[in-house]
Amino acid sequence: MQRSRGERWFNVVNMLFMLVFAFLCMYPFIYILAISFNDAMDAQKGGIYIWPRMFSMKNYSVIFSDQNIFLAYGVTIGRVVVGVITQVLLVAMFAYVLTKKNFPLRRFLNWWIVIPMFLSGGLIPFYITLQQLHLLNSFWTYIIPGLYGAFNIMLVRTFMSELPEALEESAKMDGASDARIFFSIIFPLSKPVLATIALFVGVSHWNDWFTGFTFISNTKLWTAQNLLLFLIQSNEASNLAVLSKMHQGAVTVTAESIKMAMLIVTTAPILCIYPFLQKYFVKGIMLGSLKG
């Protein structure tokens, strides 16, 4: 096809713009990564942009030798694993029932999950509820109030309702119970959508700082995000207090360098699974937008 000069210019400018944009999206991560692998004292002089000048693992060794950070990582991984397994199972079971046209509670259940998407009691009544249920300040605070997600139920319901009915019919003829049909036919067949919501749930558990911040005062139960937020928001003095506890010895790390390393350590798992993540998220958002 023939292309005019204006058109070529348009392409060049557009691609340049996109390059700049992509660079901008990535650059803050690169910058922080470079600083976190640089000697802390040296980093204070500035001038590190893409690559560490005085390579050092000190920041990371301080982080990984700190008990609180280790604990926070453990809590985070624990909540991701428990949260994903429970939600995927419960959401799949609930969604399966919603596909049963002859189930008398179907309409009721559909409304039951839709109404809370539009009405809510707000933060303070929710807090009071957790208090009354004795769900403040425990590991289960991370899990139980997040067992179900209405949006995820709808996503899985849509997927399951498109599975061929014949499969279920023949199992029914053979005398299989609903539970059997669910566990041996529907659940395995729904793997693609369940993988999608597993990633949704996993990422939101990993990224959630609000639950720990608002409903948990015991710092031993903090997640990595909570610790990071504390490091970022607390002033210099309390930073140094944390630091000195972390590192009794000569000062070779600074509050800044610790923050940078902590940022990387908290981001790294997301970046590692990013290739899957973006693929499944895009699929999920498409499913949601088509049916939602």
Partner: protein
């Protein structure tokens, strides 16, 4: 198991089982369906519906010791109180300003971004750019705030280093503590984090446009810009209207996570929004008064939000778009 036995005997001995028995049998046949959903019913009851009961404290002088039923009702007193609180009116104004700006700037910017990406025909380049563009979407605002705090830090941050080096600034400037710089930073970081991901829906709509339209128009000699204007934009009009309405109905939420993690005392005047104010009422409520007032603000926010949503949905129906529900 007794129910099963009963059900079976009833069907054998009685030719006409009673209604109750028929229901029992039906329930028994579908027992697994009940078992599968009961946890969910209880879950939403406890964590979605029961907290709605707590809305009463907006009309009470709530005392946790006395509970919902024992606390004294004060009518609309709390609503009068919050509208006389400078903190509240300030947060309300900031909420509207911040989410309004995000909508006014973010909405066209996202469309423009999607249109430009759509114009790239080198598949690999396009995919790489797109994949990178949603990277920031997947990190939490805690991390995003941490990154930008460091980038903008007056103490060896990259931006300050650059600006002082090329002589625009004489000395490092504390961007995050400046009431003038804070809003632009909030808008910018919001775009940085979400534009790539938000563009996905538009890109999907753009890919649904009939390629013949492009071919025919280029035979007619239409330029790329004209094609964007006359083919691409009308092709995604439905999506645009829908998304605009959806975001317009979120006017009462200006981005809690972002404002809490990036906000600080110096910029409270412009950075305090309703959500962050309510959270600080919960965290610092020395007296019980704070709980009632915080809940009142929540009720106000939710009510306006719901009305906005209903109005927007109605408007959407009027312009013959599908209902949002």
């Amino acid at each position: 198991m007794t129910t099963l036995a009963e059900a079976q005997t009833s069907s054998v001995t009685n030719t006409k089982p009673t209604l109750a028995r028929r229901i029992m049998r039906k329930v028994w046949e579908q027992r697994w369906l009940y078992i599968f959903t009961i946890p969910g019913i209880i879950f939403f009851l406890l964590f979605s519906y029961y907290p709605m009961v707590g809305i009463v404290i907006a009309f009470q002088d709530y005392n946790p010791v006395k509970g919902y039923s024992g606390s004294e009702f004060v009518g609309l007193e709390n609503f009068k109180t919050i509208f006389n609180l400078p903190d509240f009116t300030n947060a309300l104004r900031n909420t509207v300003i911040i989410s309004g700006l995000k909508l006014l700037i973010g909405f066209p910017a996202t469309i423009l971004f999607a249109l430009l990406i759509n114009e790239i025909h080198q598949t690999v380049f396009k995919r790489v750019v797109q994949t990178i563009s949603y990277l920031p979407y997947f990190i939490s605002w805690v991390i995003a705030a941490g990154l930008w705090y460091k980038m903008l830090s007056p103490d060896g941050g990259l931006i300050n280093e650059m600006l002082t080096r090329i002589g625009i600034l004489n000395e490092p400037f504390y961007f995050m503590g400046s009431t003038q710089a804070f809003l632009p930073i909030v808008i910018f970081t919001e775009l940085w984090k979400n534009i790539g991901f938000n563009a996905i829906i538009y890109l999907a709509a753009l890919s649904g446009i009939d390629p013949h339209l492009y071919e025919v128009s280029s035979i007619d000699g239409a330029s790329r810009i004209r094609q964007i204007w006359h083919i691409a934009l009308p092709g995604i009009r439905g999506t645009m209207v829908l998304l605009f309405i959806l975001s317009a109905s979120g006017l009462m939420s200006a981005g809690f996570d972002q404002l809490w993690t990036m906000g600080n005392l110096q910029v409270q005047e412009v950075g305090q929004i309703l959500d962050t104010l309510i959270l600080s009422y919960l965290r610092n409520s020395g007296g019980f008064m704070g709980l009632s007032l915080g809940a009142t603000m929540g009720v106000f926010q939710a009510t306006v939000g719901l009305i906005l949503f209903l109005v927007c949905n109605f408007v959407a129906k009027l312009i013959k778009q599908e209902s949002l529900i």
